[in-house]
Amino acid sequence: MSTPLVEAVETIEALDTPARRRRGWRSPSFVLGAALLLAILVLALMSLVWSPYGLDHTDPAARLAGPSARHWAGTDRLGRDQFTQLMLGARTAVWIGLASVAVAFVIGVPLGLLAAAAGRFVENAVVGVIDIVIAFPTLLLAMLLVTVYGASTAVAISAIGIGVSAEVARLTRISASRVFTQDYVLAARTCGTGPLMILVRHVLPNIWHTLLVQAALAFGVAVIAEASLSYLGLGTPPPAPSWGRMLQEAQSTVSVAPWNVLLPGLAVAVTVVGVNLLGDGLREVLDPQLRQERQAADR
């Protein structure tokens, strides 16, 4: 058992004030986070049916143009409409973010549950693997994978997913271990309930809210990772647009067209801030302990 970590979790839980608990769905962090994410999501979804220009459209007459009625966010050095790029980039970010989180959970949750449910030997082995993956930089892992398999969306998703899965596995193990030591699990065992049923009936219902919050935060991490990979040329290959590559391409012209850097940077920031606020708000809403106390306070 990594006691310092458990203590850290408990400290974070202890930071809650009664005032924060009662806000629930109306909490400012939840509303603001949801609004920011919704904006990004709308951009991404809208790009499926409409964008100001086509992906390949270039306007050679208006290269490095500033924001105008024709090009809301200006153009880059090839005369491509930046708002179009931004919308399509949102689609890439959301898609890779969701897919990586899915990969991370498919790997991380079973691994964490296994570590928590199995004996000490298996637990130590899994914890060792988790620690190695956490210590191994995700970008380095991505570079390795790209070197072997070439740059593609699938490789980016796998690399980010594996990198994030370690954190998911660690949190799952800690949360599940805490449930396993509870008296009601012992009580269930005294009734003859087997390990699998205990996982399904008692452990998962008691940890999914923690995991959901983790999923929100992991999405933010994945979006940053995707932007970093594309910035380095290791992410989704062109022509698929990406905020990271927009940043990289705008870098050389930053003195004449600073807005080209600003916009994708802002998009990444809005997504990550939004998802963190949302995660924070979700935690307040979902945490069963907080929810019970809120109900008790309402009565």
Binding site: A187, A188, T190, C191, G192, N206
Partner: protein, 268 residues
Amino acid sequence: MTILETTGLTITLNGQPLVRDVSFGLAARDRVGLIGESGSGKSLTALALLGLLPPGMRTSGRILIDGEDHLGAPDRQWRRVRGRTVSIVFQEPLTALDPLMPVGRQIAGPLRLHQGLNRSDAERRAIEWCDRVHLPDPARLVRALPHELSGGQRQRVALAMALACRPRVLIADEPTTALDVTVQAQILTLLDELIEDTGVALLFISHDLPVVAGLARHLLVMRTGRLVESGPVDDVLRRPRSDYARQLVASAARVTRLARPSVRREDR
């Protein structure tokens, strides 16, 4: 016929004996009280009887359930016995219930497991059991979450859960210690009624002599992991043979004298 019997049960942790050479048996309708101070090994003995000792503890001796030795048996074999032949109720009724699961489903769990009942049958049975443990408005209460119930109500739920599959031995590990005195008395009355109705054999574990004496017919006294005395309740109360039992009886008598005559069962 003896349902549950243990002979020479010894539990050690890192070579340190925690329970030493404990032997006793339970037959149908037996009511045995196991008394001793905290740390004397009572609860460990109870967990050992269900094969649920924490990892790292080593056991020797024999635990016979229906004549079959279960000590060191694989978990599969134990799972068939738990809840169906031997059940247990714990001290703390809040933590012994899953905070996120409606209490009806918690009572229904062992029924579905051992008797293969489907969801609606199991729920109907859960409602019946809520009624049997005198919970108010059972049909509605089964949908409540544990935190919506009072301490006494939760312990009633735990009792219903333990007895739902009609076990033949019920181990009650300090089931009233966490409750206040009036609720304690109600739970003891209920326990008395239930074991009378179902014919289940009772192993009642407590550190509280008056509580045990009110319910048990046979008394086992445990100290530092050993059984120091065993006999019918009246004998142990009137003619305790060991020094420790004498001390227990003397201190219990002192407390009861203070509280006499109305309260028979005094909290601590």
